[in-house]
Structures are given as C-alpha cells and as structure tokens.
Symmetry: C2
Subunit: 253 residues, 2 copies
C-alpha cells in the first residue's frame, strides 16, 4: 500500500482541490468522506478511483483488497476534509456522466430543482426523493452543483440509488407535456391548489424553486397545476426541503 | 444615539458573548441578526433590549423611535455576527421564561424533541410546527439550546408565534396520558404503524428523536403508538426535520 506523509504531495494537492468546483470539473472526480458513505459506494460498485485512509482508521474498517488504497496522515486527512473532525477515510469517485432524459426513461416520479441554492437543502431533497420512491432528481440550470462536499454529505449515499440528471427544465417540461405527464409547480400564489387536491399518482414531475425567490415565472406558466401547502400558523413559509418532503410523500403513495 | 467604534467596548464584548451558551445564560439575552428577524421582533412587541445597527444599514430601514439604538461599525458587526456576511442590524432580546405545561395549556398539537442535536434541524422543526398550526414545541433534556445563532436563524421568527417549553418528556407524557391525550413516537422498529394509519386529530403529542440514535427506549414505552414513514427507495432514513414535517402535516389537517 502506498503511504503519503506530505501535504505537498501532488496527489494530496489534487484531493484537496476536489472541494472546489474547478477541481472537480478538471479531474472529473469528487470526494466521499466517512466510512458510512465509502462503504455504501463499495457495496454499490461505484467507480472508486482510490480509497484514502489513516493508519488508525485502517484498523477499524474492513476494506476489500480490490481497491487502490493510500495510507495518509491525520494531518492530510484534515487538509482534504471539509468537516472539522474528519473520520479518516475517504474515497475518490468518478463523477458519473448523467444520461439525458428521453421518452423511454420518463416513467415514475421526478423531482425538479429550479435554482435551489442551499447545498444542505439540495442534498436533503435528493435523500428524501430516494426515500419516497422517486425515479430521480433533475437539476435545472442555476441549481448548485451536486458534488460539493455539503451536498454529498446531505445526500447520504442517495446519489447511488436514484438518477440525477442535469437538464434545461423548460425542455424537460415540454417532454413531460408531450407525453401527457403532469408537472406540478410549487409557487405561492392565489391560483395555487392545496396539495391534497391532487390525487396520488405514479408518473409526474414536481418542481421546487429557489429558497428566496421561488420558481421562475416562465416555468410556472408551463406547469399542469401549481400546488401549495396550506399554512395554518404565522410562519411565512416552509423550508424548501421540508415542503418538498411533505408534497413528495403525498403525491407518491 | 450612542455610537460605538471599538471592539474593546464592554457592550460589544457582552454582545459577542451571546454566541456562547455561557454568555446567553449569564446575561439572559440572545441575539437576532438581520432586518427580517429584527423587524418581526418589533412587530410582535418582543422584549428588545437594544437594536444595534451600522450607519449604512440605518439608512435602509425604518426603526421606531421607541428603542435604544446603538450605531456600530462594520467591524463590530462582523465581530458579533455569526454569519460570514452580516446584514448590519441586530437586536438583543430577552430570553423568554417558558411557562410550564399544565392541564389548562395542554390543548392542541405539540411537537416534542428528544435529544435532537443539529441546530438547523431544531430551528427548521420549530418553523414547520408553526406553519402546520402546532400549539408549541417541547424541548426535552438533551435537546440543543434553542437560542444558539443557528437555531435562531432556522426558526425564522417562529419563536414569536408558538410556545417553546423546556421540560422532562417523561413528565410531559404522563401529563398527556393522565388527560387521555395520545403521544406518538417515531422510532423505526417492527411494531411501528405507518403514519397514515392514524387519523388526523386536533390534540396530541409527537416525539422526534436524535438524528443518529432515535428516541429513548424509556419514552417509547410510554407512547400511545409508534409511527413510521414507509420508505420506498433505498435510503436508510429521512432527515429528522423532513420526517417531522411529513408527519405533522398529516396528523394535523
């Protein structure tokens, strides 16, 4: 097993760069942190490029022999980690090339993110879509990257379970509409329908918008119906990930 | 209007301490950041001790004359803020003394937090409980403080709308039970009922447990029923705030 002790090592520099968008797009890789996620990547036969582990952590986990394993120091672990107290095990993963959405892959329920910004919200929505039995999540232009450290942490491995696609939501809605599949918007406005007015169903799209500004007017015009969650108290709105969860578990039962 | 320009000023030191638990409990105050929350505190006639504002921000907002306003520098704003780019307006608020739960105040739906740790989750659950029309949130022993900067940010002002109570959840369940009011647990185990098996109702308690370890076995034994959200995909679990949202909007309609 290779052992690296210097932060100046070229590989270490490459791994540290995976925290940035530029580093991820140049290498085509992203970083998983912690045994829980690394183990899940192994079980799911994900394209693992290397596993990086501290000496201490190596004794705690059961690593298959088939992977390139590099022993790193605690200092290097801290340097490449995006958490304050890293667990001492990482995997460098190939960023998957998303297959485009076509008429053949359209079936099922799809969550669509229109300019959602907060990485924690994005990751949590992917995880919730997985739990609710959705087919996948479509990232519209303007949504934060799905491989930032915080998104990856919040997804909790759900990127291995459901499809994640980048697409122009305008074109996606057109595709759904051409196949007579409904797409629901979630903009708070007087014409919106309470979300329970729509019957649970197997095939549809659901758009969640930006935390502050909601979804784009252009997309909203194209939706089959616009849904809202009736607020009973004095809160002005719900957190976008909570709202997505409430509607997803209602529409797909 | 008083004007403070030095970070060494005693008041500034006091405000900076409000980021810590010790500082909050010694002074009995906590800090609100940003005009959105400060404005809401004003509208709700909350016990504002002082409003702190930078010169730039003072020109952007419409402050009532009734409050003690202190002009601060951008440097001081950064020093007392817990966000990276503070908005330049703060309010020092008296931490309210929570009224204990009694037979008379028992009506309505109550969310109970058993050792929930993440401040973002806690704040989001308070905001969601408000939106769902809950009467209040009960913080069991072991739940994170509700006035840490991150909890305050995530609550989005919902602490002004619903009751927040600290209590021993063991005693709270006994009180509910003595009044024939159901308390639902949310521990994933084989005897749990799917959450939709329970009819929506106006008066009940709902317990959410710790992010990693769930709720305590002792409390679980005392519950009327234990509910779970059926997972259809491969995700192992839901984020606790999302799960709370899904169940709250189902049980209280």
């Amino acid at each position: 097993m290779e052992k690296i002790t210097s932060k100046q090592n070229t590989k270490v520099k490459e791994w540290a760069k995976l925290k940035t968008k530029k580093g991820r797009s140049q290498s085509g890789n992203y970083l998983l942190e912690g045994w829980h996620l690394v183990h899940e990547a192994i079980l799911n036969h994900e394209p693992i490029q290397a596993i990086l582990v501290t000496e201490t952590e190596l004794n705690n986990i059961d690593l298959p022999k088939t992977y390139e394993v590099v022993i790193i120091t605690d200092d290097i672990a801290k340097h490449i980690a995006s958490t304050v107290t890293p667990q001492g095990v990482f995997a460098v993963l190939r960023t998957p090339t998303a297959t485009p959405l076509t008429a053949e892959t359209l079936k099922g329920a799809w969550l669509m993110l229109d300019q959602v910004q907060d990485p924690g919200n994005i990751g949590t929505m992917v995880r919730t879509a997985d739990a609710a039995g959705f087919e996948g999540v479509i990232f519209g232009t303007g949504a934060s990257s799905r491989y930032t450290p915080k998104v990856v942490r919040s997804m909790q491995g759900s990127q291995f379970h459901i499809k994640l696609i980048d697409a122009d939501l305008n074109e996606v809605i057109d595709l759904f509409t051409a196949h007579n599949l409904p797409v629901y918007g979630t903009e708070l406005n007087p014409e919106a329908k309470p979300f329970r007015a729509i019957d649970p169903q197997p095939n549809f799209g659901l758009i969640m918008g930006n935390e502050g500004n909601g979804m784009s007017a252009e997309l909203l015009k194209k939706t089959t119906a616009n849904l809202y969650i009736p607020i009973k108290g004095q809160a002005e709105s719900l957190n976008v990930a909570v709202a997505a969860g409430v509607i997803m578990f209602q529409l797909l039962q």
